[in-house]
Amino acid sequence: MLDHLGTNQLYCSPSSGEGLITESLSIPASQITATRPNCPLESVQCIPQLTICKAPSQHTRKKPQFQTEGRLLRIRSLLSIYYLAPRIVHISPGSSTLVTHRPFSQSKSDRSSGRQVVSPKIRLRTKFMVICVCGAAVMGLWFYVHLEKEQQQKMRRQEQLKKLALGQGDFNLLDHTGRSRTKKDFSGQWVLLYFGFTHCPDICPDELDKISSVVQILDKERALSPVQPIFITVDPERDGVEEMARYIKDFHSRMVGLTGTAEQIKDLGKAFRVYYSVGPKDEDNDYIVDHTIIIYLLNPDGLFTDYYNRNKSDQEIAESIRSHMKTYVNLFN
């Protein structure tokens, strides 16, 4: 039925009871033909009238929904073809590469070869990078655990040595200048202690050379406090003050030689658990004293901290002392 404008109108029958707004797309009657041959379905104009029943909230839209929807649909379909096409993949039989198919692709080469390897290349690179990162993380973790273990071992060793508590008790000995020295004189300094005797064939000179070298290495670092080397004789019978003075002048200038009575040396040897035993005397009354070959490290509080045997080189001993100094500063200062 036509109204006064010649348009057909349909009215929305409100089903819910709310006031519905009707919008009608009015097309003048002259343009309406009853039948329109070859009229594509999508064309809006073929439909004589269109009544849009909208709920009040949506009435602000000016354009008829269908028209915009049609346009949107068209745009959407175009976009979908453009974007979704690369995702259309099919694996051609007999080949090991993924082949993507772009129905509307412009490039001829793509169409002719049918191969597209952009995505697998990117994926391979990311795979490789992911593997590298994971490998680096694993190595880092292993290294950290290794360091922690070393640290724990060091702490455990230090605890054990502290428990031994070697070198307890004081001493009162004569140094190579004849001056009397006690343990307190050396407190505040790191001390490297070596027990030997002046008639020693080769071992004592080697060890004292090593100690001198260690002290020299550590002297070069100004941040560290100077280490005091001490040589104590296990042969007090022959090694008096003069002999000690003559002997140690061949070594580091700061080296102090200590000697005393047989009783004093015996007590000191017990405190440090130093073994020494006088060998058989020959016709010249010469003899060799068998003794433990160990260098002792005492910290500034006079406490036994570490020991080094013949196998340790001067570099290794210097490194160990450096780390003890660092720990000492951290704990007690």
Partner: protein, 79 residues
């Protein structure tokens, strides 16, 4: 008797090294080595010579152990 000085020590060690080198290179009873032995005995105190001789025996034994491995003597009865 005073202890050898640093210089005396070095002389003694040099003589010992030359003597040991001769022993390593040639036969033990060669006249060359006997001469070096005399020099060695002149440079070092007697105690040191005894000590170095024992040391050499020990070093040779150690070398033999490392080369051949330990072989217990034959007429040792097991407990």
């Amino acid at each position: 008797m005073t202890a050898p000085t640093a210089q005396e020590r070095k002389t003694c060690w040099g003589a010992r090294d030359r003597y040991w080198q001769c022993l390593d290179e040639s036969n033990k009873d060669s006249s060359e080595c006997r001469k070096l032995r005399t020099v060695f005995e002149g440079s070092c105190p007697q105690q040191w010579i005894n000590y170095f001789d024992k040391r050499r025996d020990y070093l040779k034994y150690k070398e033999k152990m490392q080369r051949e491995g330990f072989q217990p003597p034959e007429n040792v009865t097991k407990l």
